[in-house]
Amino acid sequence: MKGMAKIGVLVLTIAFLFLFPQFAGAFPVLFLTEIIIFSLFAMSFNLLFGYTGLLSFGHAAFFGLGGYAMALLAQHYHISMIPSLFISMVVAGASAAIIGFFCIRRDEIYFAMLTLGFGMMVFTLVHQWRSLTGGSDGITGFEVPVLDLMVKKFQLFSPWSFYYFALVVCLIFTLFLWMVIHSPFGLILRSMRENAERVSFIGIDIKFYRWIAFIIAGLVAGVAGGLFAMYDRMASPSMVHWTMSAKPVLMTILGGSRVFFGPVLGALIFYLLEHTITQYTQSWMIFLGAILIPIVIFFPEGVLGTLISWGKRFMKGAGHGG
């Protein structure tokens, strides 16, 4: 019954996501594209945070590197979409392998600080290497690669076609993350989140497992970054800055880090708030802060996590009553 309800909500949501552009104009479609991309970014972050217990404050490094790889490929090599995205993913994953090799040696606040440090080194790199990255201007003026599916080629210029492409890619990687989390590997990650020391006493090399998780999170963040660079028609240093790393943190804690789709709801809330508030006032941050604080205080498991807990308690109460 509970499982059925979950599947029902999931099917309806996916159906809505596929049908939405049929009824919506360019702006809502673009808006939703960005939310979907950031949902994937936040979910990749949450593999580390919610499932492994590691708070990364430099996750934008891999988002940004994916974006830069994509933009450079589009600008210089004109290869089609899927290989480009694949290369972006590999670039981000390889960087995560190198940076992660160092970061996983520490945990808690020290891990957060190390990821911040390495993330900002990547930021300096893209900011200063003008000949390659265009410095603070970033890379612009490239064309979105063609999507070549062997049987048919698609142009992804229009917001609608790009939306569908981004949606499918994000769904595939969401499924990927879901499988990882529900695998034996995922169980070890969750056990490390609960008690890393205990895990080493059952014979697991926790550093190695953290490293693998870090690489997977980097790979998926790279995909999200590649998509975002195409969506934005631009790769800029802001994609790599720590303030970009703060976004998935915010979204995930907002939505709920212990629930698989928590980061998605968090991303949705974040963008809806931003969009609504900026219509009325320039200073949207003060409102974001004013809304964030009560959410943090009154929704201890994030919005989705807390709602699910309430639902469970309600069901239990109803069960006892009946």
Binding site: M179, V180, H182, S183, P184, F185, G186, L187, I188, R190, S191, R193, E194, N195, E197, R198, V199, S200, F201, I202, G203, I204, D205, I206, Y209, I212, I216, R258
Partner: protein
């Protein structure tokens, strides 16, 4: 003789700064027995455990497990060799289900940890094994409960279950009855005896409850201020004047 020894400690010392928590301890644990390590509070029992199982590096000395030197190996490698342990403070995966607590250890033992795409629920053999362990512990009905919601005594059993699930050759229990009510203690003691009889695993435990120690241990080591004070059968220890003195009389006869 050589074959019978499973764990051999030679001149083991551990210092924190200038303070020696363990001073030149040498002892040998025999295979297929229940051995107890006792000593007044602060004698260095937990530090000794932490050094042997790789949580701390020893300052000097050697540790051999099944004839292999494990002195400076990291904890996870020592565990892999078949030296399991439990903790004095309950040290389980609180937000995971009871079943998942056991499964994590089984995943490690069966080397399935790097399986990334096959769902955990499709490993029927591991699930069955987890259930048989939970059945042995009397926790089968609670398999799906979140571990943090268990009663204290049950949490301690999960702790033992995790240690058992990695198929250890020898298991080190750090105060398995710490903080338990008399009923819970009794249940734990009979559980340890059952596990010992059914699996033949070597048990090495620390314990503050002398009644428990004298009723289940075949051999006892006494640690006092970081040094080994005495060793022998329960009978020998009970009558050892040095031990009595260390405990200020009294509690040994409890």
């Amino acid at each position: 003789m050589e074959d019978k020894v499973i764990l051999s400690i030679e001149n083991l010392s551990k210092a924190f700064g200038k303070f020696y928590a363990i001073k030149k301890v040498s002892l040998q644990v025999s295979k297929g027995e229940i051995t107890a390590l006792i000593g007044p509070n602060g004698a260095g029992k937990t530090t000794f455990y932490n050094v042997v199982t790789g949580k701390y590096k020893p300052t000097s000395g050697r540790i051999l497990f099944m004839g292999r030197e494990i002195t400076n190996l990291p904890a996870h490698k020592i565990a892999r060799l078949g030296l399991g342990r439990s903790f004095q403070i309950t040290n389980i995966f609180l937000e995971n289900t009871v079943e998942e607590n056991i499964l994590a250890a089984l995943v490690s033992y069966h080397r399935k940890g790097l399986s990334l795409f096959k769902g955990m629920n499709r490993y029927k053999d591991l699930l069955e094994e987890a259930h048989s362990i939970l059945e042995m512990l009397g926790l089968k009905d609670k398999a799906q409960e979140t571990a943090k919601n268990l009663a204290y005594g049950d949490k301690r059993l999960v702790e033992i279950g995790i240690a058992m699930a990695v198929h250890p050759k020898m298991i080190m229990l750090d105060e398995p009855t710490a903080g338990m009510t008399p009923e819970e203690t009794e249940r734990m003691v009979s559980m340890i005896q059952t596990l010992f009889q059914e699996t033949g695993i070597t048990f090495f435990l620390t314990e503050h409850d002398m009644k428990v120690v004298f009723s289940i241990a075949h051999r006892i080591f006494v640690l006092h201020q970081g040094s080994l004070l005495a060793q022998g059968t329960p009978e020998e220890i009970r009558n050892n004047p040095k031990v009595k003195e260390a405990y200020l009389g009294g509690s040994l006869d409890a």
